[in-house]
């Protein structure tokens, strides 16, 4: 077989028709357009098309237009705020084939699954809003939500700058031009739809210790409004509301931590792990965001600002992250407070020793737990709608950065099944046998979704039973 074309991000743009109502002003509608290189006419044309589609759909449907399928492309639409449309276009993967010597292209339309990319789109917005993230629908969703994470809603920005559209454009550009790079469009899958959270399994007493540690922290430093505690890429405690935590988690695990670890490896950030601070004892605490070196007064480091909706809409906060060993404490401080080096030093003095201790204790438990056996007879994905808890043995790691253990088509099958089940609020179960003789069980009950891929060619339907695999999970 000939060359293969994988799914890639073709374009991503945000527009508002009200900004260029008159002829010749169409370009004003464009708030952000990727790729920048695209020439203006095409930008205008594509936006025109999307406007048309959206409007056309309205003549039949009360629900907004979600996607347009063409032979080569998939458009995803999202109207996160009134009259603001975010559109993402991804390419349909294809294979160049030969038929009687004639080359022709076979497009694999069904490899691109709307729900996945809608999710991505929503997240992208949300990430922007808090700071932004998303799979194509999943990806588009994510894209917007990530934007929110770091920027607040579009309207919020406009309101703050008395409708200075340029500021919004800058923000969009600043955020998305980076963010879109990080988007692994071709790797998106059902996980992006859930965009859930991996919780750290802990025994009650250790968990309570973490609890009390956090309480103490917040009592000592009252301007810390919310705190989240993570070990590796797993959440132990979140004081944020679910939806905020979900997007924050996405940001931390897919963006902040990875880049920090790179730095660490390159040893660019301050060395001397076991250094003694002005405060007492030796500890391994360090700021991930904030002062790179606690002994160097001169630099406060980069402290991102994020937008949280936990208590009030669009609450702007500093995101201060501190880490010792594998434990990270994420502190959100309302921007009304000024970040001073002194504060950071105080924090370091408090957090350093305690967190170091706590981290190594958790580490012990963790190492005990992590000793898992070789290749299991089945792989599963678990998601709990109530607390967003998520688990996967289908992916090699939580960030699904490196590969999956099952055939891609089987993985897509999971998305099909979950999409089917999402149509009904009630419990359901689906068991299928693929043409490659894999068994797949999808189960939705008690607000939880659970997918098992079983690799037993000669099993029969009776033997396949979701419950057999239903290990109790939070």
């Amino acid at each position: 077989m000939g060359t293969k074309g994988a799914t890639r991000l073709v374009s991503f743009f945000v527009f508002n028709s009200n900004y260029g109502p008159r002829e010749g002003e169409e370009h004003k509608k464009i708030l952000f357009y990727y790729p920048k290189e695209e020439d203006l006419d095409n930008k205008i044309k594509n936006i025109g098309l999307c406007e048309a589609i959206v409007k056309f759909a309205e003549t039949f449907s009360d629900k907004p237009c979600q996607s347009m399928h063409t032979q080569k492309m998939r458009h995803l639409f999202l109207e996160p705020e009134k009259d603001f449309w975010a559109v993402m276009t991804v390419s349909i993967p294809f294979i160049e084939k030969q038929k009687e010597g004639q080359p022709y292209t076979e497009y694999q339309e069904e490899d691109v699954q709307d729900p996945v990319y809608e999710a991505l789109l929503r997240q992208a917005y949300r990430m922007f809003q808090v700071c932004t993230s998303p799979v194509y629908e999943a990806i588009l969703r994510q894209a917007y939500r990530l934007f929110q994470l770091f920027n607040g809603t579009f309207c919020h920005i406009l309101a703050k700058t008395n409708n200075n559209v340029d500021v919004l454009k800058q923000r969009l550009d600043h955020f998305y031009s980076r963010y879109l790079q990080t988007l692994r469009v071709h790797q998106s899958d059902i996980i992006d739809i859930f965009s859930g959270i991996h919780f750290m399994p802990l025994d009650k007493n250790t968990y309570l210790r973490v609890q009390c540690f956090i309480n103490l922290l917040e009592a000592r430093f009252p301007y810390i409004k919310y705190t989240a505690f993570m070990y590796n890429d797993q959440l132990v405690w979140s004081g944020l509301e679910q939806d905020d935590m979900r997007i924050m988690y996405k940001y931390l695990t897919t963006s902040l931590f990875p880049s920090y670890q790179e730095q660490e490896l390159q040893g660019t950030s301050s060395v001397s792990p076991a250094r003694t601070t002005t405060a007492q004892a030796i500890h391994y605490g360090k700021f991930v965001t904030g002062p790179p070196d606690i002994n160097d007064e001169n630099t406060l480091g980069k402290i991102p600002r994020v937008f949280i909706n936990s208590e009030v809409e669009n609450e702007e906060c500093f995101l201060l992250v501190y880490r010792a060993h594998n434990a990270s404490v994420c502190m959100l401080i309302n921007v009304a407070n000024t970040m001073t080096f002194d504060l950071c030093r105080k924090l370091d003095g408090f957090l350093g020793p305690q967190l170091t201790q706590l981290a190594s204790d958790i580490g012990e438990q963790y190492s005990k737990r992590v000793t898992t056996s070789g290749d299991p007879p089945y792989r599963y994905i678990y998601f709990n709608h109530m607390n967003l808890a998520q688990k996967t043995t289908v992916h090699t790691d939580n960030k699904k950065s490196s590969g999956i253990h099952i055939p891609p088509d089987t993985l897509r099958l999971l998305t099909d099944i979950s999409a089917d089940m999402s149509k009904s609020s009630e419990d359901g179960e689906t068991i299928v046998k693929t043409f490659s003789d894999n068994w797949v069980v999808g189960k939705k009950s008690d607000q939880r979704e659970f997918y098992v891929v079983i690799n037993q060619k000669n099993a029969n339907l009776i033997e396949i039973n979701g419950n057999n695999y239903n290990i109790r999970m939070n």
Binding site: F199, L202, K204, N205, Y207, L208, R209, Q211, C212, N215, L216, E218, A219, W237, S238, G239, L240, E241, Q242, M245, M386, N387, A389, E426, D427, S445, D446, Q447, N474
Partner: protein, 652 residues
């Protein structure tokens, strides 16, 4: 009760009603027997009469004895049957008494052995045993009342300067040696004398000889926290230092007594020592103040000896007003302000103060409430209170107050205090279990236990009453408490969970609540599940969480079915009964009723068919039995799907 403001500032008091007796004068002598806690007033050698007064009204009595010269010492046997009187250094006389304290006044006497021997005193070691302490040692006798004679049990010879007797522990301490600083403890129990290892009390190395020898009045014995100590007052511990100190020697079963604690008085002059509920009370005459030491509060230590400082700064005893019958009939009783720390005071162990001139015997008492304000460090305070008798009320109020805005303690010390309370709580529970296991009714030394319900009703209730406490703090505190309980492996009561839930919910901390459940910080229980159910309206997932909990409990099938049916969740309900294997026993009527109420024909059809099949399985016939009262549902089914849709008996 006198005016409140001074009651606040004094924590040492003299008991309300002192024991009154005729003051000492030229023909009245007064004796105090600390073993029986009795005051003897002997008028003109007893001929006029002897009045005995004890702590309780009833054991005061009056009798006469023949006047045979001045009484040197007079003591009842522990059972008040025999009175011992010493009038001469050579012998002791005895008189038998009846239960009604009647006496035939017939004396019988026992002289000490050896010509030159001098009896310096005697003590009852049991109702029928008595010890003479002489300058040559001790003579141990059995008193045979009916024969009116004594039998010598044992004699130990040792040159004795002076002695101290501790009745509760039956320990007799004999001072010997040139400086009378080598102390020989003897234990008397059940007619047996045990000699314990003797030990030296190191005397201050005074510059100019002759060195001060150890004075009887500077030595006493005291039970502190169940341990017997020899309490030695040193006036000039080290040259140069004016400040006196108290040295505690702990009497050991084996080996010589160990010097364990030193109490720093930081004053000099005349002191008197009392022991009140395991606290060492030191009265300082010159400053007319008293200080308190608690050896239980960890002081600084050099590895061998712990050094302690007064728990609170010196304070005077609370002024005491005596009511005297007035001379003039018109004016009623007149008040008399007793002089505190007066020269006439004689102090006895453990907690007795006698003013012989005044004719008053007081018990020294300790008031805990004033301490609360005097000890700023809540942890020290609670630690101190926790080992006092009936301090529960005070401790609870301390805990309660440390949660109030303004006087709020920080979480660290709150945590420490919780841990301390729960340690005791845990030990208590454990010993309880042991007692149950081996029902050896060993009466626990009654200690103060602060259990969960105490905390709930008296401490955490503050959250209810005081609205301006931040919820974060409340949650933090309760979580600390739960943490502490868990660390002590004490099962947490559900009302604590309810409490925390009732704080989280109004503040919309549902996700947090959810995480608590997720990590089983809130342990499963039916009440908790029910509470969760009630939250569904404000937090949808609560319903499912409750169900999960009930399922985990696995003792709540009925409840689960009810919940599901009430939610019209018929299929889950049926799947559930199938999963727990009670399909054949449930009432078809209940389910059909619920199904009919859903007004969903599909659902009704499914449920109806399910039970039809059950009928077939149970009775090879799809029809419902009259007993099941399902006629109405059959009708309903027919009206929806027609009669043909009813299952028919399979003939195949």
């Amino acid at each position: 009760m006198t005016s409140s403001e001074d009651s606040g500032s004094f924590f040492i008091e003299l008991c309300k009603n002192p024991i009154r007796f005729d003051p000492v004068d030229k023909n009245t002598n007064v004796f105090y027997d600390d073993a029986n806690k009795q005051v003897f007033t002997v008028r003109s050698g007893g001929a006029v009469g002897v009045v005995v007064k004890g702590p309780k009204e009833n054991d005061s009595s009056t009798f006469r004895i023949e006047s045979r010269g001045d009484v040197m010492s007079i003591k009842f046997s522990p059972d008040r049957k025999i009175l011992g009187i010493q009038r001469s250094p050579k012998s002791v006389e005895f008189i038998n008494f009846g239960d009604d304290m009647s006496t035939d006044q017939l004396e019988y006497s026992q002289a000490c052995k050896g010509k030159s021997t001098i009896i310096s005193g005697f003590v009852w070691t049991s109702p029928t045993e008595i010890v003479f302490i002489t300058d040559h040692g001790i003579e141990f006798y059995q008193v045979i009342a009916e024969k009116k004679s004594l039998r010598s049990l044992k004699t130990i010879s040792l040159s004795v300067c002076w002695f101290v007797w501790q009745a509760e522990s039956g320990i007799l301490l004999l001072a010997s040696g040139s400086l009378s600083n080598s102390l020989n403890p003897f234990q008397f129990r059940g007619g047996i004398v045990t000699k314990l290892a003797k030990f030296e009390v190191d005397l201050p190395a005074s510059t100019k000889p002759p060195r001060q020898s150890l004075q009887e009045r500077d030595v006493s014995m005291a039970l502190l926290y169940g341990q017997l100590y020899v309490v030695v007052l040193r006036h000039q511990p080290r040259p140069g230092t004016a400040a006196a100190e108290i040295v505690l020697y702990q009497i050991m079963r084996e080996g010589p007594a160990r010097k364990t604690n030193i109490l720093r008085l930081e004053m000099s002059g005349r002191f008197a020592i009392n022991i009140v509920s395991n606290l060492v009370l030191v009265h300082h005459q010159t400053s007319r103040t008293s200080v308190v030491f608690d050896i239980h509060l960890d002081g600084e230590s050099d590895g061998y000896v712990h050094y302690h400082y007064p728990v609170v700064s010196p304070l005077p005893i609370k002024p005491f007003k005596l009511l005297l019958p007035s001379l003039s009939p018109q004016a009623d009783k007149m008040e008399y302000n007793c002089e505190l720390y007066s020269a006439n005071w004689v102090v006895f162990q453990p907690n007795v103060i006698i003013d012989a001139k005044l004719g008053c015997l007081w018990y020294v008492e300790l008031k805990l409430d004033p301490l609360v304000t005097m000890i700023p460090d809540k942890y020290r305070l609670v630690k101190l209170l926790l080992v006092r008798d009936d301090s529960k009320r005070v401790i609870l109020s301390v805990c309660r107050n440390m949660l109030l805005p303004g006087q709020q303690a920080n979480l660290v010390s709150i945590a420490k205090i919780f841990d301390m309370l729960n340690k005791v709580y845990q030990q208590y529970l454990e010993s309880e279990c042991q007692n149950l296991a081996t029902d050896s009714g060993v009466p626990q030394r009654s200690r103060v236990i602060i259990d969960q319900s105490d905390m709930y009703t008296h401490v955490f209730s503050v959250f209810e009453d005081n609205k301006d406490i931040k919820y974060k703090f409340m949650v933090a505190v309760i979580i600390e408490y739960i943490r502490s309980l868990n660390q002590c492996a004490i099962p947490v009561q559900h009302y604590l969970y309810e409490l925390i839930i009732n704080i989280l919910v109004p503040n919309n901390c549902f996700y947090q609540l959810h995480q608590f459940l997720q990590y089983h910080v809130l342990t499963d229980s039916k009440p908790l599940a029910c509470l969760m159910l009630s939250l569904e309206s404000v937090y949808a997932p609560a319903h499912q969480l409750a169900l999960d909990m009930l399922k985990r409990l696995s003792t709540a099938n009925e409840e689960i079915i009810e919940v599901l049916l009430s939610k019209q969740q018929l299929l889950p309900a049926i799947r559930f009964i199938r999963s727990v294997g009670i399909v054949d026993t449930v009432s078809s009527r209940k389910f059909l009723e619920a199904a009919m109420n859903t007004e969903d024909p599909r659902l009704f059809y499914t449920v109806f068919k399910f039970f039809e099949q059950r009928n077939v399985r149970l009775r090879q016939n799809p029809k419902f039995q009259p007993g099941e009262h399902c006629e109405v549902y059959v009708k309903h089914f027919e009206s929806l799907f027609g009669t043909d849709a009813l299952a028919h008996i399979q003939v195949s």
